[in-house]
Amino acid sequence: MNRLRPSAFVAAAVAVVGFAGLIRGAVPQAVSGGLGGAATDPIVVSGAYVREPASPDVAAAYFTVYNTTGTDDTLISVASGAGESAALMIEDASGGMQESAAGLRIPAHSSVTLKPGKGHVMIEHLVGTLRPGQYVNLELDFANAGPVNVSAPVIAINAEPPR
């Protein structure tokens, strides 16, 4: 978008509408951790949760990402206020967990679920104890959709994940 072409105005208009949708969507999402965005959001994150960690300094966040657009998108980076560092960990070909260098591709009109054994956001050097009922803030940065804020509830160590 360095050069302004006529189509760029359309794109900019769509972007403004999209961001407005994100802001609207952020309110219920922060409360429920469930389906958050308005229908115009390019990326919708649902079912987010963090299991109460048994370790004093590492936790994992899980969620489902829906790409509502007709174009593939990529989750390129993650950040969290709950710890000093956050990393996107994805199951590799051998079944181990590796920090994802290329990011996580979310195909057009599809969803990808991070769940135990498949992928998670690893939050290390926790700034405080995480207890059920608290929320962990995540910022998920997408190549096309830009940053998406998610508020993930901390669930009890033996609780069923939210659906």
């Binding site: 960690p53 936790a59 994992a60 509502t68 054994g117 690893m122």
Partner: protein
């Protein structure tokens, strides 16, 4: 509106995958089973291994102390954000659901694969997050790297690498007959699978 359509589409897809001619395997549930178990059946069954490690109070602990009891054995490490705590929570949930007789005789043994960081104190603090409400406390074991390697070999699990961070996710269930007829891998319903199978390998079932 779009959300409703999306959900409807998911429902339809789910319907297709269970009723279609070519079912799509969902997680581990469509894997072949052996016998009455919901976990992965082991044929031939694996004998209860012999190894001696150190418990969280610093005492020697021989795995043969669990002989005759249904025993869940898992290798992992505490600085693990993902599979290890989820697996321990699944195990705890499955044990908690058992009738009192099965619950009290079931042993859970966690062996660390990270001998550098997981001292007895660290393991004990970690395990207390899972077993507080259970009558039989989980056993946490550590040792030298050679002892841990030998224990994994004796239990027929793949040796952990990367300071214990890449490790087998298998949960082995040894029965009252001192054989493991079934094992588990992390999945959405690992807890339900273990809960289903535990009574089958308890003393009442094998006598």
């Amino acid at each position: 509106m779009r959300r409703a359509v999306l959900l409807l589409a998911l429902v339809l897809l789910a319907g297709c995958s269970s009723g279609g001619a070519k079912p799509k395997p969902s997680d581990l549930n469509n894997q072949p089973q052996a016998g009455p178990y919901q976990g992965f059946g082991l044929v031939p069954p694996l004998p209860r291994p012999s190894f001696t490690l150190t418990d969280t109070t610093g005492k020697r602990f021989s795995f043969s102390q669990t002989a005759g009891h249904p025993t869940l054995l898992y290798f992992g490490y505490t600085h693990c954000p993902d599979i290890c705590p989820t697996t321990m929570a699944d195990i705890a949930q499955a044990v908690a659901e058992q009738p009192a007789a099965v619950r009290s005789q079931t042993q859970v043994v966690f062996v660390t694969t990270d001998v550098k960081r997981d001292t007895g104190h660290v393991i004990a603090a970690w395990l207390r997050h899972f077993d507080t409400d259970l009558p039989t406390k989980f056993v946490g074991l550590t040792g030298t790297q050679a002892q841990i390697d030998a224990a994994q070999a004796a239990a027929h699990v793949v040796l952990a690498e990367d300071g214990g961070q890449t490790h087998a996710a298998d949960v082995l269930l040894y029965g009252a007959d001192d054989y493991a007829h079934v094992k588990y891998l992390q999945s959405d319903n690992e807890s339900d699978q273990i809960a289903h199978d535990l009574p089958l390998v308890s003393k009442e079932a094998s006598s």
